[in-house]
Symmetry: C2
Subunit: 183 residues, 2 copies
């Protein structure tokens, strides 16, 4: 039950059309929630039907025509309710950790290359977040709102850093495994 609320947040920060939302989810919003355009259009329809958002006035709705949405008071209220409500942490599911555990049973053949690939991807992602941090959160200038947003970005930064460290350590361990070829 989080996607509709992610969309409400995005629309409160800036009214947008479906495609614009998709692009924002691919970029900045992506470090705490991801969604495809199909999910977004479906959810925009539901949110409108529930009276949480509406299309901006002075826009004729037609297929293939851009349609921008804004949040209505009921939508803001729903978001506030959801934000304050207690929620249990969800269980984690990480295929890479699973594969590492599998490697302990069926052998490490083939997995090392993919670890290196993941390491590179996380390094690139970290660099991107660092750019965002430099651009959007210059030192000692955070407002209250910015401080919270900065905190969220920092979670993204720290998680990428964790993965880089863990993958580096994993590759080190591999190098020390018996039968390892340093190709």
């Amino acid at each position: 039950m989080s996607l509709p609320h992610a969309i409400l947040i995005a629309l409160l920060e800036k009214p947008s059309s479906g495609l614009e939302l998709t692009r924002r989810f691919d970029k900045s919003i992506g470090y705490f929630w991801s969604a495809t355009h199909q999910q977004i259009y479906r959810e925009l329809g539901k949110l409108e039907a529930e009276g949480f958002i509406r299309t901006l006035p002075s826009q004729q709705p037609a297929r293939g025509q851009k349609k921008s949405y804004e949040v209505l008071p009921a939508g803001r209220a729903e978001l506030a309710r959801w934000t304050a409500a207690s929620q249990d942490p969800r269980p984690h599911r990480d295929p890479l950790l699973l594969r590492m555990r599998a490697a302990a049973v069926v052998g490490t053949e083939g997995i090392e290359a993919d670890l290196r690939r993941h390491l590179a991807l996380h390094q690139r992602q970290l660099a991107e977040y660092e750019e965002i941090e430099e651009r959007d959160f210059p030192p000692d200038k955070d407002s209250s709102q910015d401080r919270l947003r900065h905190l969220v970005l920092r979670a993204g930064l720290d998680l990428e850093t964790f993965w880089i460290q863990w993958l580096t350590r994993a590759l080190d361990e591999f190098a020390e495994l018996p039968g390892h070829e340093t190709a």
Copy 2:
């Protein structure tokens, strides 16, 4: 496409019945993959139909009767194939980070108590992992298999540590926010 492989790993490590698997997923397997008993039974049926596992001989299949499974060679081969195959990292989705971002827009009213609750949960989880580490991975005794399993556990430990640090920092920030009551 990871649940069937998680089950294959668990069954290779030790042949088990559905309920035993469920318990193992709740405990040690849970720090890299979680599953409910409904998912597990459904998946065991599929894996058997595909010829990847079979019920242990000398067991009459009947409703309400315990039924243990073991992995067949085809299942082990499938697991090796999957482990070596390249996979993209999945997008993250974290409702707590989402709520923090929402708090920047609709206010922090009510969220602080839940942050404290999450902090306590992560601290308990970390303590559990530390117990497992002490029990299963005594210093300087790791075999090759153990080193990989230890590595996976360490990811769990480090992720819990990350969350504890992040939540602590978040609560500190809250304390400094204007209008904050130190109740």
